[in-house]
């Protein structure tokens, strides 16, 4: 349950998460490094863990916690980071993935929102940017991407929890990732972690039409959901965002897919249907363990199906 002084069976402050990232980089110096990709609106660092065995490789991107209040996702990301690092050289699958590709992992995508949810309002979901002409604060960063921006399933009301923002990429947290992904140029899979009601989804969200890669993405997602269920029996619903949950424009994986990142997936981790965002911390490890099986399945598929 523990690695050094870090307790994975607990929710942690942003500072504690940041320290654990440093510890991980120090513990695995030849494999893990911390890369800064920008700053949040309130000037908190956006730090990514890079897992690399060296060289100029294609890569897989993982992120968590774009919606601040979904604490089990940030916790799962940190557990996953430790799992990747400790499995390299021990687990043949993760070893062969990292011998061919890099992995980037952003455990806290919305640091200002995370701190705000810890200190002021547990239900906070958005960023903390100031909206000109409104007393309401923040933008839903998962409606702020340049993919069907401002369309159905996003609100133009700054006080709404799904406010899309004044323009695409208006949120510095979103823009930082966009710039990083574009400048890297070789991201082959992009997986974003949310938590609510056990779903594994792929594009599109802004439209209910099928994507060109629907069959393959559906097959990979079904396989990943089966792997996940094999551990604790957690059942996931699988399909395109639009038909599985609701139409949502400006979402992360619609943008990544539009950039040519075929393996674009979004998870909604377990809430068990009873707790919503308030999943007891005792469920962090089971959630992370089962999610890992699905993540590994998607990463293996990415490795075995180069494009």
């Amino acid at each position: 349950q523990r690695n050094g002084n870090f307790n994975f069976e607990a929710y942690h402050t942003l500072e504690e998460i940041s320290q654990e990232m440093d510890t991980l980089a120090a513990q695995y110096p030849g494999l893990v490094s911390k890369v800064n990709i920008g700053q949040s609106f309130e000037k908190r660092p956006m730090n990514v863990l890079k897992f690399s065995t060296g060289g100029d490789k294609p890569a897989i991107w993982l992120d968590a916690g774009i919606h601040a209040r979904e604490w089990v996702t940030q916790a799962t990301a940190l557990w996953t980071a430790n799992k990747i690092a400790s499995d390299y050289g021990n687990d043949p699958s993760i070893t062969s993935i990292l011998d061919t590709m890099d992995i980037f992992l952003l455990p806290v995508t919305n640091p200002d929102g995370y701190v705000f949810s810890q200190t002021k309002n547990r239900m906070w979901r958005k960023t903390r940017s100031k909206v000109s002409g409104s007393f309401c604060v923040g933008v839903d960063p998962n409606r702020n991407w340049d993919a069907g921006f401002g369309g159905p399933g996003a609100s133009n009301n700054p006080c709404s929890d799904s406010y899309h923002g004044p323009h695409a990429n208006s949120e510095v947290e979103v823009k930082s990732i966009v710039d990083f992904i574009k400048s890297h140029g070789k991201i082959k899979a992009f997986i974003t972690l949310h938590s609510y009601s056990q779903l594994l989804m792929f594009p599109y969200g802004y439209t209910c039409t099928k994507s060109d890669n629907f069959d393959e993405l559906n097959e990979v997602a079904q396989k990943a959901a089966q792997s996940l269920a094999s551990l604790h029996g957690t059942k996931y619903k699988v399909g395109p965002i639009c038909s599985v949950i609701y139409q949502a424009s400006g979402s992360t994986v619609d943008w990544t897919y539009s950039q040519g990142i075929k393996y674009s997936f979004t998870f909604e981790l377990r809430d068990t249907g009873r707790y919503g965002f308030l999943l007891p911390a005792s469920q962090i490890i089971p959630t992370a363990q089962e999610t890992w099986l699905a993540l590994r399945t998607i990463m293996e598929h990415t490795l075995n199906h180069p494009y």
Binding site: N7, E9, A10, Y11, T119, K120, N121, R122, M123, C159, D161, Y196, S197, I245, Y246, Q247, G273, R274, Y275, G276, F277, L278, P280, A281, S282
Partner: protein, 94 residues
């Protein structure tokens, strides 16, 4: 720190498009301060909404008047938050 004493999370199951429309109208009522955790979009699929204590009666009356099925998913949000805080303090001491 904002508290959520007496807030409930309702699980609502709209039967048809008309009931979904009613729920969308409900969401637009800013004075109710509803926080939709899962939006209503597909008939038969559940929607989840956190209802502040002061709006509970109005929301339940509305749902019942429209014949929209619902149940209570979380009785009191603050009770869960208090448990979460206790857990965090305990873990920090450990």
């Amino acid at each position: 720190q904002e508290t959520f004493v007496g807030d409930q999370v309702l699980e609502i199951t709209p039967r048809n498009e008309e009931q979904i429309k009613h729920l969308v109208e409900l969401e637009a009522e800013e004075h109710l301060q509803l926080d939709f955790w899962k939006l209503p979009t597909i008939p038969g699929e559940t929607a989840h909404v956190r209802v502040p204590f002061v709006s509970i009666q109005a929301v339940k009356v509305f749902l019942e008047s429209q014949g929209i099925a619902y149940s209570t998913m979380i009785e009191d949000v603050q009770v869960l938050l208090d448990k979460e805080n206790e857990e965090m303090l305990l873990n920090r001491r450990r």
